[in-house]
Structure formats: structure tokens, C-alpha cells
Amino acid sequence: MKPPLPWRPDLTFSAAAPFYTHMTLPPFQVALESHRDDIWRLLVASVGRDRADDCFQETIIAALRGYPDLAGDSNIRAWMLTIASRKAIDEHRATQRRPEPVGEGPESAFAPDLDGPGQIWERVRDLPGKQRSAVALRFVVDLDYADIAFALDCSPEAARRSVHEGLTKLRQDLPRELIADERR
């Protein structure tokens, strides 16, 4: 069992009703509406817009399935984003198992344009799994390292290291593309 998350008044529904003497889960609809957009953004960044729809639906269904077992004082946002993050990892694994179309390889030949909105995430999606998840959780939904650690089932130090390594890798790839840009 993982230790319970520290109570985060900024992230929990209970902050809206601080007079509760016992914590109860809010109606699922309330939790969904509070966190829906962030779950969507995390998935668009993690798996791309085309595959986000399926992952999002899987996330919501898994969340609804597990919801009644959640403790009333849980950090619902971090819990839902953890589910989304794991669905994204599953999706990447499934994609890797599918045979890659050979020959053209338009995706790898395409040098992402840093000026285009969201293009950076195509490169994040090419990072190793843990770095990819950590960078998305850190930058898309602003989770702190304790919550990223919870989502990735690692220590906060390891979560911080994954974000750092991901950023380093993105940085290393950048100069090559700038050169490629100038040659165009």
C-alpha cells in the first residue's frame, strides 16, 4: 500500500467545504468537471490528439469504477491524473507492439517546428517512458514531485531526476534541429 497523499487544500474538493466534520467523496460529476480539462491536456500531450479520445474515455471509466473505494480525504486530482498517466503508458506500449509502417517514415524525417503550438510534445513523446510521463505531469498539469512520484510509483528524487533527464534530452536534440532549420 502506498502511503496516503498529503492533504492538499488547493487540490481537493473539501477545500470548498471546510466545515465538514467527516470527509465524504463529492459526486463523481463534480470531480469530473473539476479535473476533466487537465486530464484531457495531459493525454493530448502524452499520446497526441488523435489517440487522446480513447485514452480519455478509458481513464474516466477506470476512475468511475474505482471511485467508491477512494478515501474521502484523497487528493482526487492527483488520483485521476495518475490513472490518465497510466493509460498513456499502456497506449505507448500497445503502439510499440504494433508494427511500424516501413519505408516513408514521415514522422521521423519531420523536424518539429518549435514555433508551432504543441510541436514540442511530439518530441516529448519520443522520450523514454518515465521521462515522458514525468515531463508531462510536471509541465502540463503542474504536479509537484511528490505527486509525480505517486503517479509513477517511484521516489520524489527519482521523479525529479526523470524530469531533469527529459529536459536534458530535449535540449540536446534542439541544436541539430536548429541547424536543420537553417539549411531549409
Binding site: 465524504t24 467523496l25 463529492p26 459526486p27 463523481f28 460529476q29 463534480v30 469530473l32 476533466r36 480539462d37 487537465d38 486530464i39 484531457w40 491536456r41 493530448v44 500531450a45 490528439r49 487522446a52 479520445d53 480519455f56 474515455q57 481513464t59 474516466i60 471509466i61 468511475l64 469504477r65 471511485y67 467508491p68 518549435l114 503550438p117 504543441g118 510541436q119 514540442i120 510534445w121 516529448v124 515531463v135 509541465f139 502540463v140 529536459l167 530535449l170 535540449r171 534542439l174 541544436p175
Partner: protein
């Protein structure tokens, strides 16, 4: 611009969430088909304001005046029935249809199934007898209803049962008035009670 700041700027740029709402609705439809929705709800527009209608697999479980109780009713349902509470209007189509007919004067009794989970004991008994005994256009006093349930001295407890009715309109607590003919109280406010009695053409001197 340095590579670092260019990367961080891009990573911090907000991703549009424009597809989230539609994907959310699709997910909830799938969840309902898989039996994962314990309570479905909607807010129905009526001549007496927005009515929150909530239903389980067994039937209508809660009706509340949305302007008065707002989301507190949903929180109570989450606490006492199940936290799997989801907005799914089509699950309430039958109840909404009957309400529309009722307010148009074309329906005198309701047929949708009721789920009595939110009320038990003496109060449930009183409300069930009320629903069975006091018909459209009729009124009964708190004391008369107390007699009907075999506790003629329990008029006050009958009043409490009316005040805690989780299914107003469908269980017609608006038909219970003071013995002198005064209209008495109503959870949705006396104005609404008067509107409902007038709609039903109940003879009155209030």
C-alpha cells in the same frame, strides 16, 4: 532565445481542452452501459423552477428544488446512496415527461418507479400512505394523515415526515395542510405549494 527557455516556454504553453467535453459525454455513456453509474441526474425546467431529478436503477431517488438546495442535494446523494453520481439527462426522460404532463394539467398521478432509499422508518411509512391515500386535487391535514397511519397524536411527526420528503411532487406532500385550512409550510416555499394546489384545483380557504 536560449534553448532552455525556448523549451520551457513551449512546455508551459497551455494545450487547448476543446475535445474534453464531448469525450467526457461519450465516456459517461459507455460507463452507463457498463453499469458503472449508480445515480443519474438532470435538472428539469418546470413552471415552479428547476427541479433536480436523480434516479438509481430502482427508480427516482431524489427530487429537489434546485434554487434552494443546489448541489447540496447531490452531495447528500453521494454520501448516502453512492458517490457514482453522474449527469445523464436521458436516464430521467420518463420522469421529466410525466412532470411535463403534470404541469400541463394532463396527468393526475405518477407512474415512474420510486426508490425510497433516502427515507426510512415512520417517515417512509407516512409518505407511502400519503402517496396511496391522498389523490390529485385533494388535501389532508397533518392530523388526518396521522390518523391514517394509526398514530392520531403524531401530527407533529407527520409534519417532520413531510419536511424531509426526498421526492416532493411525486410524493405529494403539498397536499398536506393545516387542520384549520391554512396552507402550512412547504420545503420548496409556500408560493410553490399554493401553485401546486391551484394547479390541481384543490378546494381551499388558504
Amino acid at each position: 532565445m536560449s534553448a532552455d527557455s525556448a523549451i520551457e516556454t513551449e512546455l508551459n504553453r497551455e494545450i487547448p481542452a476543446e475535445g474534453a467535453e464531448a469525450a467526457s459525454a461519450a465516456a459517461l455513456d459507455r460507463a452507463a452501459a457498463e453499469g458503472l453509474v449508480d445515480v443519474a441526474y438532470t435538472v428539469a425546467d418546470t413552471p415552479i423552477g428547476g427541479l433536480l431529478l436523480a434516479s438509481t436503477e430502482r427508480g427516482l431517488v431524489c427530487v429537489s428544488f434546485h434554487d434552494l438546495s443546489g448541489d447540496a442535494a447531490l452531495e447528500q446523494i453521494a454520501d448516502r446512496v453512492s458517490p457514482r453520481v453522474v449527469e445523464l439527462p436521458r436516464k430521467l426522460d420518463a420522469a421529466r415527461f410525466e412532470l411535463d404532463e403534470f404541469f400541463a394539467g394532463r396527468r393526475r398521478s405518477f407512474e415512474v418507479a420510486l426508490d425510497w432509499t433516502l427515507i426510512d422508518g415512520f417517515r417512509r411509512h407516512v409518505l407511502q400512505r400519503l402517496a396511496a391515500e391522498v389523490g390529485y386535487g385533494e388535501v389532508a391535514s397533518y392530523g388526518e394523515l396521522a390518523t391514517v397511519v394509526g398514530k392520531p397524536r403524531a401530527a407533529r411527526a407527520v409534519g417532520t415526515a413531510m419536511a424531509t420528503n426526498p421526492l416532493p411532487i411525486f410524493v405529494p406532500c403539498h397536499r398536506v395542510v393545516r387542520s384549520g385550512g391554512a396552507i402550512g409550510n412547504y420545503g420548496g416555499g409556500v408560493e410553490r405549494k399554493r401553485f401546486l394546489l391551484d394547479l390541481e384545483g384543490a378546494s381551499r380557504n388558504h
